[in-house]
Structure formats: structure tokens, C-alpha cells
């Protein structure tokens, strides 16, 4: 498999960030494969921890991720209705190579969430596994490793990181 260039991956990740910041979540979900995983491990776990035996903040398979998107579209999702304002900054993008047929990419992120007069920051690194399809790239796995000591004061990860 030929690896995508960094600028191709950057364009793709910036597009993802843009969809998130504009709350176009159904379109965002289309960037994911049907066997996708989306994870946010608890902050005291080692980098290679697995949700099979460790407590994460989020460990979604595609079914739950789709439900998460559905939930985020509802007025009864009180944590995000009214919607918060978010800004996803993606940086330090590196295409690391191929792992088990997936393209491994890492990047740094800072996500800002503003609601009710508070702006909370989520900072950390993304560990992506991407796949190629005819139209371009797709996300097979996204793991968001927080460089935080916990969610204080953020309190929740009700937005998508």
C-alpha cells in the first residue's frame, strides 16, 4: 500500500475538525469505516491500555458511535443542547507507516469547548488508524489520549474530540 503524504492526511484531518466544529456530525460519521472504534482512555492508564479490561471514558464501536451522533442531534441531549461552541486544533501531524493494513497517523490536538461562560480545554494526542477507499481516506480507529490529570474542570467529554 502506498502511504498518503502528510499534506493529504492534514487536509483530511482539517476537514474532520471542520465538520466537528460546525456540528455536521452525520457527515463527520461518514468519515468512519463501519468497523470503526473511537476511544478516550482514562487519564491514569498507560498508553496501550485496552477497554476490554480497563475503565475508559469512552470506548465506542461503530454502533455506539452512531448512537452517540444521534444523541448529539437531540434536544434531550441536555449536556450539548443548547450546543457548546468548539474549536478543534490539529497539529504535529505525522504519517508513521502501515500497521495491520491500516495507515498509522499521530497528531497533537487542542480542543476548546465553550458553554455557559466557561471555556474548557482538552489537550492531547490523536492516534489514528486510517484506510484508503476510492474517495480518499477513512478512519478505522481514533484514540484520543488526553495529556490531562483528569477532567478537571472539564467534567465531561460530551462533545466529540
Amino acid at each position: 500500500m502506498s502511504l498518503p503524504t502528510r499534506s493529504e492526511v492534514e487536509d483530511f484531518l482539517y476537514q474532520e475538525a471542520d465538520l466537528l466544529d460546525n456540528w455536521k456530525l452525520k457527515e463527520w460519521l461518514q468519515l468512519y469505516t463501519k468497523d470503526a472504534e473511537y476511544q478516550v482512555p482514562s487519564t491514569d492508564l498507560p498508553k496501550d491500555a485496552s477497554p476490554v479490561d480497563s475503565l475508559f471514558y469512552i470506548a465506542d464501536d461503530y454502533v455506539r458511535l452512531e448512537q452517540r451522533v444521534i444523541r448529539l442531534g437531540k434536544k434531550s441531549m441536555h449536556s450539548e443542547y443548547p450546543r457548546s461552541k468548539t474549536r478543534h486544533l490539529v497539529t504535529n501531524v505525522r504519517v508513521l507507516g502501515e500497521v495491520e493494513g491500516d495507515i498509522q497517523v499521530t497528531a497533537g490536538f487542542a480542543v476548546f469547548r465553550t458553554k455557559w461562560g466557561n471555556t474548557d480545554t482538552f489537550v492531547g494526542s490523536y492516534d489514528y488508524r486510517l484506510r484508503r477507499n476510492e474517495g480518499g481516506l477513512l478512519i478505522r480507529k481514533k484514540r484520543c489520549l488526553l495529556d490531562l490529570d483528569g477532567l478537571r474542570p472539564q467534567g465531561r467529554v460530551s462533545i466529540l474530540l
Binding site: 478516550v40 476490554v52 475503565l55 469512552i58 452517540r68 449536556s79 450539548e80 474542570p153 467529554v157
Partner: protein
Amino acid sequence: MNAPTPSPLVLEDEKQGLFRVARKSFTDTEIMNAEYGNVFNKCWLYLGHESEVAKKGDFITRTVAKRNLLFTRDMNGVLNAFFNTCPHRGAEVCRERAGNSKHFQCFYHGWIFGCDGQLKSLPGADRYSADFKEQKRGNLVPVPRFSNYRGMCFINFDPQAGSLEDYLGNAREYLDLVLDQSESGMVILKGMQEYAIRANWKLLVENSNDGYHAATTHASYLDYLANTHALDKEVALRGVGRELGGGHAVVEYTAPWGRPIANWIPKWGEEGKKEMDALHAKLAERHGKERADRICFKNRNLLIFPNLVLNDIMAVTVRTFYPTAPNYMNVNGWALGPNEESSWARQYRLDNFLEFLGPGGFATPDDVEALESCQAGYQNALETGAEWNDISKGMGLDPFYDDEVQMRSFWKEWNRRVSGASTKEGGQS
């Protein structure tokens, strides 16, 4: 004891079906200080679980009621809780979250302590009095009281406190229903959820065993369950809230979700059914069928006064939380499970947990929003007519799981300790 404020904080009038809590209880710094003085400094508080320091030399550092603590299992296997501060001039002797070590060296001047707290050596010992070590003032200072109830470790900052067993009282029956779920012992699973809520800590006490809010606050979670067919439609939400004395309370009820301790749902397939049946049979062998049924098919939201929550629902969560300001709390949450659990059941347990619970779950973030919204509402706490919360649901009626008796239980004990008053007759005792 003097009340921190002249007017009553909790009002109860059974005849009128009235139970009110003054909203300034959630906003007033003096009241929070009284809570530290009369509640957190006097009650048994949850420190951690013995499984978190399973091996000799294991340690964790943890903040409990604003204290910096060091929880160790020493080389004799004995559990200890120390104030994490050097007897010399105060630096923290352990600056890691967790690990395994025979001793701790304070990096400031180099004093070395065993994991039993004994001062082992100090640089320049010849410049101290000859019997300095024998005087023991160089040893780590233990928390005044430490006690272990079936693996759950508690501390008390009051040297005069009564025993933990007496303190837990009737709550032990419900703790046992959780702790009996394993033959080899319940353990804390890896991974700790640490978060904060911009709200008063007592709002989370109320919320943690509030059966009344599910239909509206968690409407989108209930939609999700319906969408993914993860429910057993035959089973209704039904049960009772109980006052257990000493401020402890419980809600015990049946619910349509699956429990990895042998409440099977169709989603788990035939394999899962076999495993759940076997688990139930084992529990029945150990505890009799009636108790096994209760363990497996009933859910429990238990509050141990003042701030330990054990929710034995679609997974088991242990949760504790402390205010740093009237409008801000730090929360710690863990998952508890049987040590001998199969990897299959463990996976479902964690999956169940994340589906509902915690900062990324499909329910907890909406609880957080509700609590913060209440706190925002309390900006009006001192306005005439807007100064009271109503906690009267179910008064004088047969107990039902979505009433508020469990909250009244908390508030009565809280009021007794914080304002030194009974809730009746306008707060005068």
C-alpha cells in the same frame, strides 16, 4: 454547637407533607466550612479498596477531604494511611500516583521512610539528638483512624470516632449484597474516572440515588436503549427507597437492563445465558436462592453518609466527591467487579459501565448539566420565595423507588451535624 446561620437550613413538617432545604446550603462558604468541621472531619470516609494496593510495597497517593494521603501495604502486608507530608519540613514524601516501593525518600533533605511509615535514615543523623529515631517524631504521621470493611478501606480524621462497623450500621446489609458477588473478592478495575462538576457536592448526593429524574434527564439514554434493543421489556423499573439510619440510604429496584452479575438480556446471546445461569447457580449455592435472586435481579443505589456512592446497576460504580468551593466539587469514580470474573463478563461490565456512566457515558454528562443548572439557579437562593428546595415527594406514602425518602434521610443527618439541630419544629432541638 452554634448554627453557622440563624435561620433553619432544613424544615420538616410531616402533617403538611413538607420537607424543604434552604438553597443557601449550596452556596454559602461558611456552611461549607461547617461541613468540613462537622461532617468530613467526623465521619468515616472512603479512602480506597485493598485491591488497589494488592501486593506488599504497593502504594497510592490520593486526596481525601482536602488531605494529601499515602495509602500503602507495607512489607508485613499491613494496610496504612499516612498524611503525605515529611515530618521534617513538610514536603510530600511520595510524589507518584501509584507504584511499588519498600521505602520513600523525601527529596528535599533526603529522609527515608519505610512503607510502614518508620523513619529509616536521615542524612547527618549525628547532628540530631542521639535518640531521635526512638522519639518517633521522625515517623510518618498516620491518619487517626483506619478501618477495612471487607476490602473497602475507610479513614476517619477524628481519633474519638466509633467503629466503622457501627457507623455503617444498616448500610452493611446492602454493602454485603455487593461484596458477596464474588467468591474471591471484589476488586477495583484499572482506570479511574477523575472529573469535576461546577456544582455543590450535595447535588451529586441527591442525584446519585434519584429515581425521579430518569424519564426527562435521561430521555436520550432511554431512546438509545430502545434503539439498540438492549432492554428486557418484561422487566419494569420498580422498587423502593429506604432510609437506613445515620444518613445512609438506598434505592433497591428491578430494571430492564442487563447486569453482568447474572441478569441476562437477549443481546448477550446463548453463550452469555449459559454463563449467567452458571454464575447464578454458584451464588445460590453460596447464599441460597433467595439471596442469589436479590443479588442478581435487584439494582441498588446506595449512599453511605456523607459522600460514598455505590451504584450496583448495569455495572458497579464506586464514587466519592468533595467540595473545594460551595459551587465546585472533585469527583472520583471507579468500576468494581468480581476478581474471578471471566473476560467475557468483564468486557460486558465495562461496556455497560461506559454506556451509562462517567464523563463520556450517555447519561452522566446530562446529570452534570442538571447539577450545574441547579447551581446556576441558586444565584437566586436568597430571593424571597425562591430560597427553598422541595424534597417532599412520597412523604406519608408507601415507599417507591422514585420518591425522595433517601434524600430526606441524607438531609436530616446533614442538618443534625451541620447546624446541630433537628429538622422538626423549625430546626430547634
